[in-house]
Symmetry: C2
Subunit: 191 residues, 2 copies
């Protein structure tokens, strides 16, 4: 069961933008991030839900999509995310910086898997013009952007395949399917 | 469904040690970590499965449990993990160090949720005498220990509760139930 969700959970970058996602639904999902593990239980992560068009536009124009797809600058109108979740570090909470990012991964995975269960999908975006977003959305200095999660109803086919010649770059084929090479199990287990 | 697994997925520290866990089962679970998201798809994580008693003893004597439980030094004989998964960074793979730890969280959450689905549970351990473990298990210099996951059949009751007075410390009550205070949803969502 969980295996099926995990395999379905891919980094989706093209969505059916007409599919609306409510703030209330995203709050329920953030509740699952809330109860994820946290180093020394410090819980330093904070979340902001973006569903309004004007705020979504601010996010969209300050993030970069899919570094390896050099001839694609991001989803076209109509294929953009229906919502975003900005994930912050609350600087008022003292943490070990490395495990802060581990907390981030634990929380994000809960969110992503729950999205997939609801026939939605997300994409983690780390390439962000943070200063612009902080200014335009009037975010307090207390909060540092760690990651932005794009959320929507996926409208693309993603194919996992075996990594060859150590080439980790994902790519699109002539049918516009997105291929993601993954290392073999035997290559990631140390005996 | 996933919500139930996420809520059940706690940091378990006392187990039914008589419950054996096979290497083959843990390999299947690591396959779910294998297909988790990875920053720029670099996939820098490697895994080592520990199920043999002598190796488990090495791990056990080189980790620290539950920092906030100052009068408890770890699970007694019979309540120890049945297995461990050591998670490494493969230094031959170039990464952004912060997102390495995000990858770690994403991968670990897949493993933990799958354990819970199989009526097992895990505990992430970050307080590790890495040098001792590297030496005694003869791990190559190429690999840096990031985290150790203790795995077993949980034998303790864990209660989530609302965090009060900003006190994040988990504790055990007179029934030996383990309580974990979590921030309220309204305290982690920025409006």
């Amino acid at each position: 069961m969980i295996k099926e969700l995990i395999y379905k959970n891919r980094s989706y970058r093209r969505f059916d933008e007409s599919n609306k996602i409510t703030e209330s639904f995203l709050k329920d999902i953030i509740d699952l991030a809330r109860v994820s593990g946290s180093a020394a239980n410090r819980q330093p992560l904070k979340y902001k839900i973006i569903t309004k068009k004007d705020e979504s536009n601010i996010i969209f124009s300050n993030i970069k999509w899919a570094g390896y797809l050099t001839d694609w600058s991001g989803p076209a109108e109509g294929e953009r995310p229906s919502a975003y979740i900005i994930i912050f570090y609350d600087r008022n909470i003292e943490v070990n910086k490395e495990f802060l990012y581990c907390d981030l991964g634990l929380a994000v995975q809960n969110i992503l898997l729950c999205l997939v269960e609801n026939k939605l999908g997300g994409c983690m975006i780390g390439s962000i013009n943070k200063e612009n977003i902080i200014n335009k959305l009037k975010i307090k200095d207390q909060f540092e952007i760690l990651l932005i999660l794009a959320v929507g109803k996926p409208k693309e086919k993603i194919i996992l395949e075996e990594l060859k010649n150590d080439n980790i770059k994902y790519y699109r084929d002539k049918n516009d399917y997105h291929h993601v090479p993954k290392r073999k199990l035997s290559d990631i287990i140390i005996t």
